[in-house]
């Protein structure tokens, strides 16, 4: 602030009015620097401004200095609003001075006013301007003065309502009107903008004759030579049209609107893009136009019927030819912005006149072929609004182009087209069918849009009861014809058609007796997908009840009270769904046996998807079952893959390695399913054991010369099976083969054939065996510390579910690239019952590497005691194969030194 002091000194002395400090250009610029510097103190600013104000009258002889001084003051005003008032009141006297002075004063006023908050700005102006002053300035011969007072007025008029008025409305309008005839185009434009602003602000309060008067002037100006004036004039015509349309007056309104409409239409052929855009925007604003004129705007040829309306404004040309083909030109325009604007206003009028809608649909449909995506979207939007208003009357000729949109590159366009289809009324069965097919094509090409497509199909089916019934009957016939196990219904097209068929019975309870029962039962497995698409329309529970009710699946309806349903799907209901799925899974076996590997895989994948969706809403108990099924399906997928490989190995190259990998995966998946659940029924346990026998058979046939170890293992499993229940054909066959010492490999196919998928229907009341791990005080941001080479401790919270005291659990810890370390978990250290055991303990990790930081993967594993014995290389590790019970956790360590 010291440097500032030296400058302030001479300035403060100037406060003395006698004699005032004479500002020259240098001192003015230092004053400017002071005022603009944000760290200048308030006192300094005040004194600087004061001295500037005092010296203003003396500067008036030197116009350059005066205008500079004024601009300095104007610049400082927005930074220091408190000074505005004093600045304004001292420049007031200068306003009537020389031309240059008053223009400088006006520009200073303008910048002060614009920088103020809304009301302040205009009240400042109100305080110094009055009618006489404005009128004398407005009629000045100097362009600068006129332009600035005009800009001030435009500024004020925008805030007309919230400030005191220094001009009456009438005078204001007159001044603007006068400016619209100015010789400078920019003033004409500003004046029109001012009038528009006035009309918008004063909207309802304005007298009827004002918009009429403005309209007349604007029409006079739409032929202006200057592009910007034409743009503004067209905008004003549109605005006046809008206002006059809303106001009630005695005049023949339609005639008046027709005149305005045709006037704007005549601008649709202007050479300036901006004018054309504005013209189409304005066309959208003019309502209540007669059909005749609207129709004329769609035809380049002059139509025969007579224009009935009389116009209040005399036109020098017949109004009809002006309107001819305006929209055609608009949608054919070279610039997409114009086409877009034309399209929007076309849509606005189409909603209001049915006759016009019928004709304009041709053009809107044609716009689907436009090269600009935004135009296509705008056209779709217009079509959508027309559909929503019920004035879309589609014809066959449009459908090719329209349905093409469903396979369009752009997802927005596809979405837009589907949105329209949801509301559309289709006239013919053929069109309905081709629409459904096109939606299916959409689904096949873009499966990620399934939800939207299903919803469109549903709405389509709902809106066309007769047609969808027809489709339903065809589908039922098709289902009857196909043999069992032919899983065509896994195809997306089948799912899509089913949605169409169940739509109308579902939404209105109509068509129910006519719709073939088989369709409802086929729709049950698709429940998840359908209900996701119909979110917000029907809840999943209702849907399921409905489908089960009408299908031939037996279930207990009393379980399904609506109150319960809202909380989730009941257990029994879930069981029946699961049973249905398990039956379907059984079907997959027939595909695997029949070497239909690809079909089976596809089918299993879709089953998996269903399970995922259903489990979102399922209860805790059901989740266990669903989890079991998903694990089971994984096993089937692997078996199907292996089966495929075995089939192909005679024909093509045979990669033993990949078989081993698959078998290894299968083996571990089986282990996982066996040790992740408890509470098996006898049947399920047998089935799982048989599956593991199957794995052994695969391994066997691959090894060609089976080891004794393998044989022993196999026999022990068979004897285990024998102990549980009587042997199945499959097990008997294996037993026979082993006893006969014949090659299992040769009989692989016959073995598979006798393998039966049974016991799955008994899946119930299982409990998951699982563990939860929580590492205390560690995350990647705040790792645990360690001293390299010395053991480190990890504090863990362990929760175990459904473990028995005979289970052998281990903590598996591994660092990438190193041998894992196992720590035995003694269950006696845990608290709680068999259901839940909890324990917190500090586990040591011995082999900390000699690096700055590392991470350990920790998880809890269970030893698979019934599996074949295998000597593991770790001395202090599990003796049998293990399978994971918990999710792997990462524990981060950083060395003490690096901290």
């Amino acid at each position: 602030m010291e440097e500032e002091g030296s400058l302030v000194q001479p300035l403060t002395t100037t406060c003395d009015p006698n004699p005032p400090f004479q500002f020259d250009l240098t001192s003015l610029s230092s004053a400017q620097a002071l005022l603009l510097n944000p760290s200048t103190s308030i006192d300094t600013i005040h004194s600087t401004v004061d001295s500037l104000l005092v010296s203003l009258p003396h500067l008036s002889t030197n116009a350059t200095s005066l205008s500079l001084a004024l601009s300095v003051l104007a610049q400082s005003a927005p930074r220091h609003p408190s000074l505005s008032q004093s600045i304004v009141s001292s420049v007031r006297s200068l306003i009537n001075g020389q031309d240059r002075t008053s223009s400088a004063v006006l520009s200073a006023l303008l910048s002060i006013a614009t920088s103020c908050h809304n009301e302040d700005g205009s009240s400042i102006l109100t305080s110094i301007l009055d009618e006489d002053l404005v009128l004398s300035l407005a009629s000045s011969g100097v362009y600068k003065i006129r332009s600035r007072i005009l800009r001030l007025l435009v500024f004020v008029v925008g805030r007309w309502k919230c400030s005191g008025k220094f001009l009456t409305d009438e005078v204001m309008v007159r001044v603007f009107l006068r400016f619209t005839g100015d010789i400078y185009p920019i003033l004409r434009r500003d004046a029109i903008d001012g009038l528009c602003e006035f009309l918008t602000v004063a909207r309802d309060g304005v007298d009827f004759c004002v918009p009429e008067c403005c309209l007349e002037r604007a029409i006079g100006l739409i032929g202006d030579d200057d592009e910007f004036v034409r743009v503004a004039a067209v905008r004003m015509v549109g605005l006046c049209g809008e206002m006059l349309g809303e106001k009630e007056n005695g005049v023949d309104k339609i005639g008046q609107m027709d005149t305005i409409f045709t006037q704007i239409c005549s601008m649709a052929r202007d050479m300036s893009v901006k004018v054309r855009i504005e013209a189409f925007n304005a066309l959208g604003k003019v309502k209540l136009v007669s059909d005749a004129v609207l129709m004329q705007s769609l035809s380049k040829k002059i139509l025969g019927s007579k224009n009935g309306g009389k116009s209040i404004i005399k036109l020098d040309k017949a109004s009809k030819p002006c309107a001819a083909g305006a929209y055609i030109h608009g949608i054919e325009d070279e610039f997409y912005v114009v086409r877009k604007s034309a399209c929007r206003s076309l849509g606005i009028h189409a909603v209001m006149s049915i006759k016009f809608a019928d004709d304009s649909i041709n053009y809107l449909m044609d716009l689907m072929n436009d090269d600009s995506e935004s135009v296509r979207l705008e056209a779709l939007d217009s079509l959508f609004r027309m559909t929503a208003q019920g004035c879309l009357n589609v014809q066959e000729k449009h459908m090719h182009m329209f349905l093409g949109l469903l396979t369009d590159m752009s997802s927005l366009v596809r979405h837009g087209a589907r949105k329209i289809l949801q509301l559309m009324k289709l006239p013919k069965l053929e069109i309905f069918k081709s629409t459904v097919n096109e939606l299916i094509a959409n689904l096949e090409k873009y499966p990620e849009e399934e939800e939207g497509i299903f919803f469109s199909l549903f709405s389509l089916g709902k809106n066309h009861r007769e047609f969808s019934l027809n489709v339903a009957k065809d589908l039922a016939k098709q289902i009857k014809r196909t043999s069992k196990g032919d899983l065509t219904f896994a195809k997306p097209s089948m799912a899509a058609t089913l949605v169409v068929c169940i739509a109308s019975p579902l939404s209105e309870n109509e068509n129910v007796p006519d719709t073939p029962v088989v369709l409802f039962s086929y729709a049950v497995p698709l429940l998840g997908r359908i209900s996701r698409a119909l979110q917000g329309t029907f809840d999943q529970h209702f849907l399921l009840t409905f489908l089960l009710d009408h299908s031939n699946i037996k279930w207990k309806s009393q379980d399904l009270m609506p109150e319960i349903a809202s909380k989730g799907i009941s257990e029994d209901l879930m069981q029946s769904v699961i049973k249905f799925i398990s039956k379907s899974v059984g079907d997959a076996w027939s595909l695997i046996k029949g070497s239909n590997g690809n079909d089976a895989e596809k089918f299993l994948r879709s089953c998996m998807k269903e399970l995922e969706i259903i489990s979102l809403n399922a209860s805790q108990a059901a989740i266990t079952t669903l989890d079991f099924f998903s694990k089971y399906i994984q096993i089937l997928q692997l078996i199907s893959k292996i089966q495929c490989k075995f089939d192909s190995r005679n024909s093509t190259t045979f990669h033993i390695k990949s078989h081993h990998i698959l078998l290894e995966k299968l083996d571990s998946a089986l282990r996982k399913i066996r040790y992740s659940f408890t509470g098996w029924t006898k049947e399920v346990e047998c089935h799982i054991l048989e599956l593991s026998l199957l794995v052994d058979v695969f391994t066997f046939s691959l090894a060609r010369i089976p080891s004794n170890e393998h044989l022993k293992n196999l026999l022990s499993k068979i004897s285990h099976l024998e102990a549980i229940s009587c042997l199945s054909d499959f097990t008997k066959e294996i037993k026979r083969l082993i006893e006969e010492r014949s090659s299992v490999m040769v009989n692989l196919h016959s073995l598979l054939k006798v393998f039966e998928c049974s016991g799955l229907e008994f899946v119930r009341e299982m409990k998951p065996i699982k563990a939860e791990l929580k590492v205390v005080g560690d995350d990647s941001e705040n790792p645990l510390t360690f001293v390299p080479g010395l053991p480190a401790g990890i504090r863990l919270w362990i929760t175990l579910h459904n473990t028995s005291s005979t289970d052998r659990l281990w903590l598996h810890m591994s660092v990438r690239g190193r041998r894992p370390q196992y720590v035995f978990l003694d269950l006696s250290n845990f608290e709680g019952s068999e259901e839940v055991r909890k324990c917190s303990s500090l586990i040591p990790f011995y082999k900390t590497p000699k690096i700055a930081s590392f991470e350990i993967r920790v998880c809890i594993v269970i030893e698979c005691l019934s599996e074949h014995y295998e000597v593991l290389k770790e001395r202090d590790g599990p003796k049998y194969d293990v399978t994971e019970l918990s999710v792997e956790k990462l524990v981060y360590f950083s060395s003490v030194k690096s901290r």
């Binding site: 050479m271 055609i328 054919e332 325009d333 070279e334 997409y336 044609d366 090719h400 182009m401």
Partner: protein, 513 residues
């Protein structure tokens, strides 16, 4: 003052466009075309009507079509015109191709005598000064010309000429609606004394182009979807690119994988020119050019003759149009007998060509010559694309420019008469359609600079009457002096007269009725 227009060609006919206008004492020749229908002296404009070929200030060519440029080498090399020749860059690039192509056909195929040689063409083109759109060229001290975008074909321009206060515009051929590759004609508001406009479609009002596009795309799509082949016989420049952009776009949007072929030759060369001259195409192409050149068609594959009979659907653009011979005829012979295939004929076909036969009713067989007979079982689709503006477009342009006088050229007499009627009645503009070799005199307005006395100006600013400013003064024109406007008092002072006031009083009798 007046503009004197000598119509050397395209007066009440289509062909050999050539107008010589004398404006402000300067003679300008607009276009120098030939008539394709004649091969004798009538093919060229009658240059003998010009007193001397070298009193012409400049020749301006609007575009490269032969009926606008065909006689240029003859005029410069044979008649000996030596002055400047102006044309746009694309026209300069493409004109020699067209001229040489035509010369070859004339000499090699029809065995006629050539009017000018290849060297003549090259020599003539060397004299050409290229101009750009909206570039103003000061031809000499008084005469300036400016080119405006005309659509129609690549590089087509409308020519504005001005000498002093006299202004005129010669449109050449133009199109008021944009197509897929060219924009619409674009012009400023000019207060013209004379507008010379083409009037090819003086009475036709064309429907929306979308309808034509939709039908074309549907026909092609249905055909290829059913495994058929589509033949589009077209000329190398313009239509081929227009349709190909349309198809390429549609293919892209609809994910269609059917190949589109271009028969080799001029078309590929033409595509190259289009790629270079992007600035002369439509806004859309200019916009998308920043991402990729739209003339690098994504779905167009290279074509070989052996591919004609390959199985599977395809679309083929083959030259020449109208199936008048050459490659398109060869393909037509192979494809016409299958009912799966489609022949799409864009535009007009001259009588006698196969294209014309196909368009005028569906024939079942065509006898090519004594021994060759083609069974026509394929579908035929006719396209009515035209790069000329329709009557609505002409009227719109005339209305927008509002010239004082209109002359119609390049059209058919009865239709021109109808259009003249409309221009005169609806727009109130005087209009004429002279025949060839006629001269029209168009009067022009002349503006005169006058000075105003101070008193008069002061009176103007003070005598305000509401919104209207009415000033009264007296115009004084003296020999040897500038015209001057003075106030009443000043006038009285200069002539030394006194003001006399005569007043009248009237009586109205209450019983008069």
């Amino acid at each position: 003052m007046a503009i004197q227009c000598l119509i050397l060609g395209a007066g009440q006919e289509v062909g050999k466009s050539c107008v010589v206008a004398m404006i402000g004492g300067k003679k300008i020749m607009f276009d120098c075309g030939m008539h394709m229908g004649f091969s004798d002296h009538r093919a060229f404009p009658d240059f003998s009507l010009l007193s001397s070929s070298n009193d012409i200030s400049c020749v301006v060519i609007t575009h490269f079509h032969l009926d606008h440029i065909g006689a240029l080498p003859y005029f410069t090399e044979v008649c000996g015109y030596n002055g400047p020749i102006y044309m746009t860059y694309p026209t300069k690039a493409l004109a020699p191709l067209m001229l040489e192509d035509y010369r070859k056909i004339l000499v090699d195929r029809r065995g006629l005598e050539e009017q000018y040689t290849y060297e003549n063409i090259i020599h003539c083109m060397n004299k050409v000064i290229p101009i750009d759109i909206k570039q103003t060229i000061q031809v000499d001290k008084d005469l300036l010309i400016r080119a405006y975008y005309a659509g129609h074909v690549l590089g087509a321009a409308m020519i504005y000429a001005q000498v002093g206060e006299e202004k005129m515009l010669y449109t050449g051929d133009y199109n008021m609606t944009p197509d897929r590759h060219l924009g619409a004609a674009q012009i400023d508001r000019l207060s013209l004394d004379l507008l010379i406009t083409e009037s090819t479609y003086a009475t036709t009002v064309r429907d929306s182009k979308y309808l034509r596009e939709r039908e074309f795309l549907k026909a092609v799509h249905t055909c290829v979807a059913a495994g058929g082949k589509v033949l589009i016989p077209t000329f190398a420049l313009g239509r081929a690119q227009e349709l190909c952009i349309l198809l390429d776009d549609y293919w892209e949007r609809m994910n269609i994988n059917v190949p589109i072929y271009f028969s080799a030759g001029l078309t590929i060369q033409a595509n190259m020119y289009y790629k270079m001259l992007i600035g002369w195409t439509s806004q859309k192409i200019k916009d998308s050019y920043t991402v990729r050149n739209p003339f690098d068609f994504k779905h167009v594959c290279p074509f070989e003759r052996s591919m004609i009979n390959l199985p599977g659907p395809c679309v083929l653009f083959a030259t020449p149009g109208m199936i008048s011979g050459g490659f398109s005829l060869e393909v037509f012979k192979q494809w016409a007998p299958s009912d799966k295939n489609l022949i799409a004929i864009p535009g007009y076909c001259v009588a006698g060509t196969i294209g014309h036969k196909l368009m005028s009713g569906k024939p079942t067989r065509i006898d090519l010559d004594k021994d060759t007979r083609i069974d026509v079982r394929c579908q035929i689709h006719q396209l009515t694309f035209s790069p000329h503006t329709d009557s609505k477009g002409i009227m719109d342009l005339v209305e927008f420019l509002s010239p004082k006088h209109v002359i119609l050229v390049h059209g058919e007499k009865p239709k021109m008469a109808a259009l003249k009627q409309r221009i005169e009645s609806e727009l109130g503009i005087q209009c004429e359609y002279p025949a060839n070799n006629e001269t029209v005199l168009v009067p022009t307005t002349q503006s005169l600079k006058i000075s105003a006395s101070k008193t008069f100006v002061r009176n103007c600013t003070t005598e305000l009457d509401g919104d209207e400013r009415i000033a009264e003064g007296i115009l004084v024109m003296e020999k040897g002096h500038n015209a001057k406007i003075v106030s009443e008092e000043e006038f009285l002072e200069t002539i030394g007269a006194e003001r006399n006031v005569v007043s009248f009083t009237g009586w109205v009798s209450p019983l008069a009725q």
